[in-house]
């Protein structure tokens, strides 16, 4: 019955007339989403870092002296059939000796008299990205009990420290993101509510002359959705700028240590979700805030 054009005009008029209220709401939404965005991007990249380093997670399975090559191949085949295992490599006693020699560097002469097959053969097992600590431990247990296996060497001290640290960072990022999300929800809600409160007289008058709740609400909801859209866009823009500045720094710092790691930005889908989230935030906030005064009359 009522043309949407009317509400668009009303919403725009409202926004022009009270720019301060709009700026407050847009600002709150932008800041809220920006903080959530920062947390998400951090969590995202910590995750990537964990995977990147996690990919290096290796087990070394030392075989018994009397284990045959066939036994080793059977074990390797068994391991390869498991999805949490990425690669398996057989290291012969000769290879092992060579490696030890390399690791001793200038003191390799030490090994000159050692017979070639003094060191045990082993399997180097690289776990897949997806494998977590529990799965790794399961495999270690499995291998420890397997026939022909002497000993399983799992994760060095530093790798473990790093893993713990990355885990803490991840937990921290999630915890902080949750706090931030809740806090920002509160702030966005109260900002929008204050804005509506400042215009409660307008709402009251409209209702006194016979406007339906829907009629009163529509411009506020449109306004809220627009605030959310603009706030969301601003947040993503700011996030992009931060990313552009910070990413090269972080990549530079990591480059000297690791092959290469791009600091990822949000995916197009995530960007869209951010915008949709902003719109929803504005919309729901406005609806709830207006409800108070619409119901009251």
């Amino acid at each position: 019955m009522i043309r949407p054009g009317y509400f668009v005009r009303q919403a725009l008029r409202g926004m022009r007339a009270k720019p301060m209220i709009q700026l407050a709401a847009v600002g709150a939404i932008a800041v809220g989403l920006l903080l959530v965005g920062v947390a998400v991007v951090c969590a995202l990249n910590v995750e990537r870092l964990a995977n990147h380093w996690g990919r290096g997670t290796q087990l070394t399975v030392y075989l018994k002296q009397d284990a045959t090559r066939a036994r080793a191949d059977a074990l390797a085949k068994l391991l390869r059939s498991r999805h949490e295992v990425a690669r398996v490599r057989y290291i012969s006693p000769r290879d092992a000796r060579k490696r030890l020699g390399e690791s001793l560097g200038s003191r390799a002469a030490l090994l000159a008299d050692v017979e070639p097959d003094f060191l045990p053969a082993s399997l180097e097992v690289e776990l897949s990205r997806e494998a977590d600590g529990a799965q790794a431990r399961a495999i270690v247990a499995l291998l420890g009990a397997a026939r022909g296996v002497e000993e399983v060497d799992y994760l060095g001290r530093w790798a473990q420290r790093l893993g713990t640290l990355v885990g803490l960072m991840r937990t921290g990022a999630i915890l902080v993101a949750a706090i931030i999300a809740l806090a920002c929800l509160y702030i966005v809600g109260s900002t929008i509510r204050l804005g509506v409160y400042a215009r409660r007289e307008e709402i009251e008058i409209q209702q006194l002359v016979g406007a339906t709740p829907a009629f009163v609400r529509a411009p506020f909801m449109l306004e809220g959705a627009l605030q959310g859209l603009v706030g969301g866009a601003l947040a993503l823009l700011a996030l992009y700028v931060f990313h552009s500045i910070a990413a090269p720094e972080i990549e530079g710092a990591l480059a000297s240590l690791l092959a290469r790691l791009d600091v990822a930005f949000l995916s197009p889908l995530q960007l869209c979700l951010g915008l949709v989230g902003g719109v929803l935030l504005g919309l729901v906030g406005s609806t709830v805030a207006t409800g108070r005064y619409v119901e009251a009359a």
Partner: protein, 252 residues
């Protein structure tokens, strides 16, 4: 149209604003409501458009009991009632014409038509030139006339005028009383609350009701006969509920 009101206890906190007020008003009547400050005139009018709910008694408009109206029906009731508020209740930071047109806008009338009709109504109160000015920039009397224009622009079935000439000079008061009279003669029921003796003297009312401390203390016949004797119209509940009863069309 028939209006019945009676209260056991008045609304508005501990004060008994209205007590056992019993009044039947027929279609096309122009009832003058007088009484000293704080007598309950405003409260009585407010109960009619459901801005105040009586603690007791009932108000029947067009066969519907207002006091038991569903909340969601109130807007549609109000569209058939034009109100000139004592304190104007204008949107201060909007233009005069926007304030008048809002009663049409909420019914979904096209902007062009609603503005044309609003301009006409502003012309009727002598403010056609001020149409685009912001209400906060207008004088007290100008604001009052905008409130009047807003109340009459929808050609409502009932018009409640609360002290509509308090800020107007005698000449303008006269014009406004003429306007209300002609509206009433076209079938709109008008209830006019005032303490201005000049208004009481000049208005061609059908009845004069005097309130004091929430009670009717006097009721006289006015100079004018009601256009139709008080009678019960067939109730048009769907009209009030669905908002399809557009008095403008219904009456012309």
């Amino acid at each position: 149209m028939s209006v019945t009101k009676s209260f056991g206890r008045g609304s508005g906190g501990e004060v008994l604003a209205l007590q056992d007020v019993d009044l039947h008003v027929g279609k096309g009547e122009l009832v003058l409501l007088t009484g000293p400050s704080g007598a309950g005139k405003t409260t009585l009018l407010r109960t009619i458009f459901a801005a105040e709910r009586p603690e007791g008694g009932e108000i029947v408009v067009a066969g519907r009991n207002i006091s038991r109206l569903r909340r969601s029906s109130i807007p549609f009731l109000r569209r058939n009632i034009g109100v000139i508020f004592q304190d104007f209740k204008l949107l201060k930071d909007r233009s005069a014409i926007d304030n008048v047109a809002i009663t049409l806008d909420i019914r979904g009338i096209r902007r062009k038509e609603s503005h044309a009709r609003a301009l006409e109504a502003l012309g009727a109160v002598g403010l056609a030139e001020a149409a685009e000015k912001r209400v906060s920039c207008l004088s007290g009397g100008e604001q009052q006339r905008i409130a009047i224009a807003r109340a009459v622009v929808g050609v409502p079935a009932i018009l409640l005028a609360d002290e509509p000439t308090g800020n107007l000079d005698p000449e303008l008061s006269h014009d406004i009383l003429d306007l209300l009279d002609s509206i009433s003669r076209r079938g709109t029921t008008v209830m006019l609350a005032t303490h201005d003796p000049m208004v009481v003297a000049n208005a061609s009312c059908t009845r004069l009701v005097r309130l004091e401390r929430g009670r009717i203390v006097a009721m006289e016949q006015g100079v004018r006969a009601p256009i139709a004797p008080p009678r019960l119209l067939t109730p048009t509940p769907q009209g009030l509920d669905a908002g399809v009863l557009q008095p403008a069309e219904a009456l012309s």
